[in-house]
């Protein structure tokens, strides 16, 4: 081996350029496939695409214990498209579904994929507030309209409101404020609050506390989403002996809590008040346990509006079950987008016009008259609901009365729009 010396030619020869070169030549055919790597991973270029089309990206949970809700939303979206004839403003529309696996970072990745690879014109969906909070920034940065079909975190209703974000559902606090008012109406003076410790859970307890006039004798924020065993919290409830217990456990967790609450024998002693904890999907598992509880929500399958009856009847015909509020909100979200496209005559490039059209919200909502506040969140009624047994032995929800009328969320003043 030549000893490296100070002179440059010697140094260069020490690099063994011929050998490097021959090595590279030998390796080249093997590495050619590696150069093809970017090619392989690239998608079809825009040039190969056909003519105009509306593309909507829909992010929801399609795996894990709450996959049933994602499926409910998917079914509702399909139904909405069917009722629209798969066209918005005369232009064919396509919806791409992505699974967020109930994880914020996955939801964010899928959102970016929809924006960058599928180049969607609108994004909708999002069951979970934490997933939405992680995902909304890429959308609004890319000036793409994001319509939430469920999650309504307080941050996006207040300081971080954006002209590109709309909620077709509600602001998180609102249904819980309805529960707080219900507690007042039923004369409860001492309440115990249990909710999961994530964005929506925190909004929830804040909502209850804003309206509830009595004393909060205890509050437990459980670990989300890992904690499925509520024995510790239920023991504490028993020890505190409140007049009423408020819980917020969406999806599968609602089944778990109610079952364990009943198993602990507390249901007959301490009335249970909840929002989002009992829905058409959980009812199938909760069954009798959900009877005699107090529920508050912005929508019910029996609301007497034409659009609602059309939706619920068609859904029942196609899927046998009653849709959940997740589905109802998704149906509304698609119709909201359709109204925007129709009003702007399909001119998606004019973002200002689209924004104004969406703000006008001229569509037939399943909730009846639909109006946005300044922060793009709906001003709506909150109803009291209860569970009843149907003639064929199943369970369903019915609306009893209106707890809060034309209610606007409390974060609207913080939004500068």
């Amino acid at each position: 081996m030549p000893v490296p010396s100070k002179s440059l030619p010697r140094r260069l020869s020490a690099l063994h350029i011929p050998t490097l070169f021959s090595t590279a030549m030998r390796a080249a055919p093997l590495a050619l496939p590696l150069l093809a790597l970017p090619l392989a991973l690239a998608a079809t270029p825009a040039a190969a695409q056909p003519a105009k089309k509306i593309k909507i990206g829909f992010v929801t949970t399609l795996s894990g214990p709450n996959a049933a809700y994602g499926q409910d939303m998917k079914n509702s979206v399909e139904l909405a498209l069917e009722h629209l004839g798969r066209k918005m403003g005369g232009i064919p529309v396509e919806v791409v579904f992505e699974d967020d696996e109930q994880k914020p970072e996955v939801g964010k990745q899928k959102t970016e994929k929809l924006l960058q690879r599928d180049k969607v014109d609108f994004i909708a969906g999002y069951i979970w507030s934490n997933v939405l909070l992680a995902s909304y920034k890429p959308a609004v940065d890319a000036k793409t309209f994001l319509i939430s079909a469920n999650a309504g975190p307080s941050q996006l209703a207040g300081e971080q409101c954006s002209p590109y974000f709309f909620a077709a559902s509600w602001q998180n606090d609102q249904p819980h404020m309805g529960v707080g008012e219900l507690l007042n109406q039923k004369g409860a003076k001492r309440a115990y609050l249990v909710a999961p410790n994530y964005a929506a859970g925190q909004d929830g307890v804040n909502g209850v506390k804003t309206m509830f006039k009595g004393e909060v004798v205890g509050q437990d924020m459980t670990k989300w989403p890992d904690q499925l065993d509520f024995s510790a919290e239920i023991s504490k409830i028993r020890a505190a002996k409140p007049d009423g217990v408020y819980v917020f456990f969406p999806g599968r967790w609602g089944v778990q809590f109610l079952t364990q609450y009943a198993q602990a024998g507390l249901k007959k002693d301490i009335p249970l008040y909840s929002a989002f904890t009992v829905d058409a999907v959980t009812l199938k598992l909760q069954k009798d346990v959900a009877l005699d509880t107090y529920l508050a929500m912005t929508w019910g399958p029996d609301l007497p509006y034409a659009a609602n009856q059309k939706f619920v009847d068609a859904f029942k015909k196609k899927h046998t079950d009653t849709p959940t509020f997740y589905g109802a909100q998704s149906y509304d979200a698609i119709n909201l987008i359709a109204s925007g496209v129709a009003a702007t005559k399909g001119n998606l490039k004019d973002k200002d016009a689209m924004r104004k059209a969406l703000e006008a919200a001229k569509f037939d909502s399943v909730r009846g008259p639909f109006k946005f506040g300044n922060n793009h969140f709906p001003i709506s009624n909150i109803y009291q609901q209860e569970v009843y047994k149907t003639a064929d032995g199943g369970y369903d929800l019915r609306t009893i009365n209106t707890v809060l009328t034309a209610h606007q969320d409390l974060h609207a003043p913080k939004c500068k729009m």
């Binding site: 055919p29 093809a36 991973l41 970072e105």
Partner: protein, 374 residues
């Protein structure tokens, strides 16, 4: 046996250099094919390759099986996130703080764990990284389990704008190339020799008179700091940090990348990271059940293909394998672009590449049979 860590005379070096060249061309490809997602995907691949390179230093060369390496990605990322939340965006402040924190965490974890060996080392690094995970979960002010959105990327003044995606990509690429070069220099230095000797037999090294623990701790801190840098880049890339970055399964992913690529080889982590993530992306577009194939594949690689991709390249099997995979890539790419008419020349090309690989393998086999070392 100490594998030669030289840069020359090896097929894997050539392949690695060409791979780096291909990676450098990604922004161009993204522009040409009008696919910004390509750039997003490869930025993530390059950043995780950097993390894998740092892990390879202690795992591959040092023999320290750290199952908590993802914690450093988390520390670096959260340093950026926390400073950003307090509206400190200057990179001149953020980056040194993040690297310092990573080094400190690495020092602490190293001091606590390097006295143990074998399975206990694995367990304690796992436990300590889970502590960091729960720490991040408990940081209510910084999002806790929901994670923390970063509103603005690190600000380098006029020097470079991290919001410009190609620029950011080239920064990551340059740091990856730099880390590879530095690893090469480090493992071939006296320090590296001691480290690698200690991997073989640490009692012998101690008997010769080297303070093995100190060398290992230094290597651990270096690896942790470089991994923290990867965390800094990842935070800037995704504009988001969450405890999920620190979960033990992420550490497992990093170890898989290093082992798949070839433990203790210079370019192994590069091959492993690119291979694992690109494979994930391509396979998942075909079927959502891709892990069904990937799991057993991993098991088979562990059982039968010691030395990973790098080892396979050296033995010639890599040639054939790459030929087949390359053909698959080409077909995949061709299939997306054109009609199936092009599949014919693509298949021919695949055959040609596979043939070259086969020739390579036969040549090496003949050399081995003739008694020469390949």
């Amino acid at each position: 046996m100490l594998k030669s860590a030289s840069l020359r005379f090896s097929v894997s070096t050539g392949v690695a250099l060409l791979l780096l060249l291909a990676l450098a061309l990604v922004p161009v490809a993204a522009e040409v094919f009008d696919d910004p997602f390509l750039l997003t995907l490869f930025t993530r691949i390059v950043i995780l390759a950097l993390a894998a390179v740092s892990l390879n230093l202690i795992l591959g060369y040092g023999g320290m099986v750290s199952f908590g390496h993802a914690a450093f990605i988390g520390v670096g990322g959260y340093a950026i996130g926390i400073l950003a939340k307090h509206e400190i965006y200057a990179a001149w402040i953020q980056w040194p703080v993040a690297l310092l924190m990573s080094a400190l965490f690495a020092l602490l974890i190293g001091l606590l764990s390097l006295r143990t060996r074998g399975i206990f080392f694995i367990m304690i690094t796992l436990a300590l990284s889970q502590l960091v995970y729960y720490l991040a979960n408990g940081a209510y002010a910084y999002g806790g389990d929901d994670g923390l959105t970063i509103l603005k990327r690190s600000d380098f003044g006029g020097l470079i704008s991290l919001s410009d995606r190609p620029s950011f990509y080239y920064l990551c690429w340059a740091l990856l190339a730099l880390s590879l070069y530095l690893t090469h220099r480090l493992v071939n230095s006296r320090f590296g020799m001691v480290l690698r000797g200690a991997k073989s037999n640490d009692r012998r090294m101690a008997a010769i008179g080297f303070p093995v623990l100190r060398y290992r701790l230094t290597a651990f801190v270096i690896a942790g700091t470089v991994c923290g840098l990867a965390g800094v880049l990842l935070a800037n890339h995704t504009d988001f940090v969450s405890p999920a970055m620190i979960h033990w399964t992420r550490s497992g992913d990093l170890i898989v990348m290093v082992v798949l690529g070839g433990m203790g080889s210079l370019f192994g982590p590069l091959f492993g990271a690119v291979g694992y993530l690109a494979l994930e992306e391509i396979l998942s577009s075909y079927t959502e059940y891709w892990k069904l194939l990937f799991g057993p594949l991993l098991v088979l690689v562990i059982l039968f293909a010691r030395g990973g991709i790098d080892g396979a390249l050296g033995r010639g099997h890599g040639g054939i394998l790459l030929g087949i995979i390359g053909g698959f890539f080409l077909l995949h790419g061709v299939h997306l672009y054109y009609d199936d008419a092009w599949a014919v020349p693509a298949a021919l090309l695949m055959g040609a590449v596979g043939l070259v690989g086969l020739m390579q393998w036969l040549r090496l086999r003949k050399a081995r049979k003739a008694g020469e070392t390949p």
